[in-house]
């Protein structure tokens, strides 16, 4: 009985997880295109002239994301032989891009023109992923939104 439930949940994870991932990637690509006008410079010394700068404010964005049952199963298999776990890679990639996008959205809402000194941080929120708990990771992106005087 337990096995049947586990298999069922894995299948649900496979089907629904896949659909959700495709949908998420589509929305990420659309917003990335939309926010392309807002560049991120990953330097901490601003190259802009001091007189040109109107306002500086910190911006940030974060996402908590969790793995689905099917991917966990795949990763479990992969752990036997070692190597690249691509099912985890797409998950983290999605979350990181989403966090950066949220930071950009916040910067756009404050009329910033450029973001400098961006930092991305990853932290584990739930540890007991394989013991029935909620396993999730938080991706946080933060930087400095600068508005240029017009």
């Amino acid at each position: 009985m337990k096995l049947i439930i586990a298999v069922l949940l894995t299948m649900v994870g496979f089907v629904v997880g896949r659909i959700l991932e495709a949908k998420h990637y589509k929305s990420i690509k659309a917003s990335e295109k939309e926010l392309l006008y807002l560049p991120i410079l990953n330097i901490n010394k601003d190259t802009l002239d001091d007189n040109e700068i109107d306002k500086t404010q910190m911006v940030y964005g974060s996402v908590v994301i969790s793995i689905d049952y099917f991917k966990r199963f795949l990763a479990g298999l992969r752990k036997i032989f070692g190597g690249e776990i691509s099912s985890y890679e797409t998950l983290i990639d999605r979350a990181r891009r989403e966090a950066i996008l949220r930071m950009k959205e916040m910067a756009a809402s404050m009329q910033a023109d450029v973001i400098t000194n961006m930092r991305v941080e990853t932290s584990i929120i739930g540890k007991r992923a394989n013991k029935g708990g909620v396993g999730s990771v938080e991706l946080l992106a933060y930087g400095n939104g600068i508005t240029i005087r017009k």
Binding site: L9, V12, G13, V16, G17, L20, E21, H24, N44, K45, D46, L48, D50, N51, E52, I53, D54, T56, Q57, M58, Y60, S62, V63, V64, I65, S66, I67, D68, Y69, K71, L91, A95, E98, T116, N117, R119, E121, S123, I124, I125, G126, K127, R128, G133, V134, G135, S136, E138, L140, Y142, G143, N144, I146
Partner: protein
Amino acid sequence: MILTNIEAVPGKKIIDHFGIVAGSTVRAKHFGKDLLAGLKNIVGGELKSYTELLHDSRKQATERMIEQAKELGANAIVNIRFATSSVAQGAAELYVYGTAVKVR
């Protein structure tokens, strides 16, 4: 209050320096939300309730840091860093720290 995560405030000059200011908060997850997140865990993807929770807590930690800087008479905080650590099962600490300065 101007917050930046670079060493200076662009376009302004630092005239005084008050040392490190920090704010932190420890949050536990709501039981009902945890249950929902557990269900969401089957299909994977974003856990919106957790994102919101962490966002709110981080805001609170930042506010505490700002409060501390205000008491010192600062008008900006530079070189801000965020840190997250899970202190116990189901609880996370959010920590924000920076240097309080006076700019002109």
